[in-house]
């Protein structure tokens, strides 16, 4: 392979690769994202390679280990291209059948196809499966088509054509204008227009200038950035190079969190390959523009995702936010102008330059353009990564794409925007998902986490969970965030144990308002949102815990007790065997009861009791006599 000296070289290379790829009739795309790898996707890919070799089909069928396809609930995922036939939960033993199907159109693969519950039909194609059908995949589309560790795959699907276009025919100002015109808003949480940020950095005094990718995704349950950096690292890199060109930066950083080893490996490989082809380093594509990128590995702190903390960490100091009355785009890394954007934001840039701002503006709402990736998790049938146009109602994401709530349970709330986002109740499900709309109801877009909760979720416990997370992930520098979270956590723990008082709710409201107004950085300013939003929409539930000492979701252990419903009990003894402390008593005539004084409320009996009986039940603790003193001091949490 040789260095590409001009944009024409790149086009020539692209034609060669495409011709090489077209020589094969079919490609088996095995999802090798972190989720499917955990399901055994690598063994599966090996099995495909072996089987194809064995049948002598190597010239006709290729195997590609791709990035995350998105439907993580049903991995490992396999897609046959170009027909886009999709197989779910494939195992090595299914490999021969899938190959048969790919070659001859026949094969015993029915069980691997998506079953549509309404019609009872098996759906075999990506575009037919509701999970994919209602999405609009712009950023994620190529995840299925390319091997992240191979730059040639990216080039084959049009990669680096935006860079070639910019370097050969556009001034940096023109690139900047296009991004500004597109009104691309930061996907990391704030929703600040990227073009304006770029312009500030471009105009700021000081050399050198830096561009940085924020891949310190730390929200529980969110993995959009990981999947993008893992599955299509070159798209992020190309965006970063374009940004550097527009801003006039000569050096870039990719800040990847410690917990994303695969994303880091793929990003490092992308840098190496881009350098080899002359797409990174000195004199890119013969344009005279030089730019290089380093990877910085985060040390595992949620707060380091905050821009000034992240920059402190790159400088080698403790990752703590500093006051930002002078913006980091003017004075950031080592006091120099630094432009920080999220993975998703950078990944959008090549497409905007390639297809134009008008194309981007054709998607989304008036103020929030384009699409957004969400990680749809929690109590929803189809968990996974979904990409939808801005402005789509929450209901469509959860019910059409997500398939609704499993096990016939009722929807209760959806939490958006990560730990410092808010919960949104059922009454607001028709809300269009866009930056300003979510903020108005007390939540936020955040980086795109979306956690669905069903009727068995206790909202007080949910607030406690997030506040506990934030209390330990705040840096602790400023008083409002650190002390506010400490007291919020103490109050919420009291309430979940049944020791709360009504005036606690006023104190929570007061603390929430204070923290939002007085905290140093965005973490502290948004930290009270889980409390404020649950108080706003689920105040009754707080009052129920306080006044009646009752948790109707059956989550707060101090407020529930386990009991055996004698009418339903078939005396199978499963609960007795499951109990770790011998709290299930069996009388001589086979009557099973729970000895409350011994019970530690671990819930093992509840889980062990067969579904057809459901004889072990949760009842409010106050209905049980002889409540052991120890139970009241148990840590509140999951049953």
């Amino acid at each position: 392979m040789s260095r590409l000296e001009t944009p024409a070289d790149l086009e020539k290379l692209r034609e060669e690769i495409i011709a090489g790829r077209n020589a094969k009739e079919k490609w088996v795309a095995v999802c090798a994202g972190t989720g499917c790898r955990a399901y055994g996707a690598e063994t599966l890919a090996d099995a495909f390679e072996e089987e194809i070799e064995k049948r002598g089909l190597s010239d006709r069928i290729g195997v590609r280990r791709t990035g995350c396809h998105g439907f993580c609930e049903r991995g490992p995922l396999v897609v046959i291209q170009p027909s886009d036939a999709c197989f779910l939960g494939a195992q090595p033993k299914n490999v021969p059948a899938i190959i048969d199907k790919a070659v001859t159109g026949e094969g015993a693969t029915d069980k691997l196809l998506y079953l549509d519950e309404d019609s009872g039909k098996r759906l075999g194609n990506l575009d037919e499966i509701p999970f994919y059908k209602y999405q609009k995949r712009v950023l994620l589309a190529n995840n299925v088509r390319i091997d992240a560790a191979n730059i040639l795959d990216y080039i084959a699907v049009g990669g680096y054509s935006a860079l070639a276009k910019a370097l050969s025919g556009m001034t940096p100002e023109a690139v900047l204008e296009e991004v500004k015109k597109a009104n691309l808003r930061g996907r990391g949480g704030g929703g600040f227009p990227a073009g304006i940020k770029w312009e500030t950095t471009r105009k700021a005094q000081g050399e050198p200038k830096y561009v940085i990718v924020n891949a310190d995704e730390g929200d529980p349950g969110a993995y959009m950035d990981r999947s993008l950096l893992e599955g299509n690292p070159h798209s992020v890199l190309e965006g970063l190079i374009l940004g550097a060109y527009a801003i006039g930066a000569s050096e870039g950083f990719i800040y990847v969190r410690q917990e994303y080893p695969l994303a880091r490996t793929h990003a490092a490989k992308a840098l190496e390959q881009a350098r080899e082809y002359g797409l990174l380093g000195k004199n890119l594509l013969g344009s005279g523009f030089s730019f290089d990128v380093k990877i910085h590995r985060g040390a595992g702190a949620f707060v380091s995702g905050e821009s000034s903390a992240l920059m402190s960490a790159i400088e080698g100091r403790v990752g703590e936010p500093r006051p930002k009355y002078i913006r980091t785009s003017e004075k950031g890394l080592w006091g120099k102008p630094s432009c920080l954007n999220n993975v998703e934001t950078w990944a959008y840039v090549p497409q905007i330059i390639d297809k134009g701002a008008d194309w981007f503006r054709s998607m989304g709402t008036e103020k929030s353009k384009g699409t957004k990736i969400f990680s749809l998790v929690g109590k929803v049938k189809n968990t996974g990564l979904v990409e939808v146009p801005m402005g789509i109602p929450l209901r469509d994401i959860i019910f059409k794409i997500g398939g609704g709530i499993p096990n016939g349970k009722k929807f209760k709330a959806v939490q958006t925007g990560g730990p410092s986002g808010g919960v949104i109740p059922e009454s607001l499900l028709d809300l269009p998902v866009a930056f300003d709309e979510l903020s108005q109801v007390g939540s936020m877009m955040g980086s795109g986490g979306m956690i669905v909760m069903d009727e068995n979720t206790c909202m007080v416990d949910t607030a406690r969970y997030y506040i506990n997370f934030l209390a330990h992930e705040s840096c602790g520098k400023c008083v409002p965030c650190r002390e506010g979270l400490r007291q919020m956590l103490a109050i919420l723990e009291r309430i979940t144990k049944g020791w709360g008082e009504e005036q606690d709710l006023d104190t929570l409201d007061e603390l929430a308002e204070f923290m939002e107004a007085a905290s140093l950085c965005a973490l502290g300013q948004s930290a009270p949102f889980p409390v404020a939003s649950t108080l706003k929409y689920f105040r009754d539930e707080y009052l129920e815990h306080i006044r009646e000492k009752r948790c109707s979701a059956g989550v707060c252990t101090a407020l529930i007790a386990y009991q055996i419903d004698q009418e339903r009990c078939k005396a199978c003894g499963a609960c007795l065997r499951a109990c770790p402390v011998g709290a299930v008593n069996k009388s001589e005539d086979k009557v099973f009861t729970i000895v409350q004084a011994k019970c530690i409320k671990c819930g093992a009996c509840y889980t062990a009791c067969p579904d057809k009986c459901r004889a072990v039940i949760k009842v409010p603790a106050y209905t049980i006599q002889n409540q052991p003193a120890a139970a009241a001091t148990l840590p509140a949490g999951k049953q």
């Binding site: 006051p323 330990h472 840096c475 602790g476 002390e483 400490r486 107004a517």
Partner: protein, 179 residues
């Protein structure tokens, strides 16, 4: 550096560009309560006692920490509004009983809250003094969030006792008791 003209509590003040609102207020004798501020140290912005309400020349209103907010032309600052008083009262109450210099002025006599991890109010004066003035770095913050607490590096007790310059900076006496 040139000067900017601005207004603090209705009084006009001229200040050198690059200085802070807190310094400008001090220069005309307006006292803004502070905890983590010290003239010898870099502004920190941690305690939030010095928060003030500002209105920029463009008409934008917001709450900022005056120890780190740079002076600017046409800025209008109010140092004690009801909102600001509420914030300061809450800070004193949250730190209760470790730090009480302004308790009387703000009418705080007790606290609704449970006490923190240590007596230390985590203003960072001792460790910043040790690092910035003494260039010694003997004290550091261990843990983060609600676990954050000051700690001496191992074996520093004797030399710290011999120096002792930061003892008087400490509002709660934690550092002296630790050495």
């Amino acid at each position: 550096m040139s000067n900017v003209k601005m207004e603090i509590d209705g009084r006009t003040v001229e200040a050198a560009e690059g200085t802070t609102v807190l310094q400008a207020a001090k220069s005309i004798g307006i006292k803004i309560p502070t905890m983590c501020d010290d003239d010898r140290l870099e502004p920190y912005g941690g305690c939030r006692m010095c928060m003030v309400e500002i209105e920029t020349s463009a008409g934008r209103k917001r709450l900022v920490a005056s120890c780190v907010y740079p002076v600017e032309e046409g800025l209008r600052v109010q140092t004690t509004t009801e909102k600001i008083r509420r914030i300061r009262r809450m800070i004193i109450e949250l730190l209760w009983p470790s730090w009480q210099p302004y308790a009387k002025e703000y009418g705080v006599t007790s606290s609704r809250f449970t006490t923190g991890l240590t007596d230390c109010s985590l203003c960072g004066l001792c460790l910043r003094y040790c690092s910035e003035v003494k260039k010694s770095n003997k004290i550091y913050f261990k843990g983060r969030g609600i676990e954050r607490r000051p700690e001496l590096i191992e074996g520093a007790e004797l030399s710290c006792r011999a120096c002792g310059e930061c003892f008087s900076l400490c509002g709660s006496g934690w550092i002296a008791s630790r050495c």
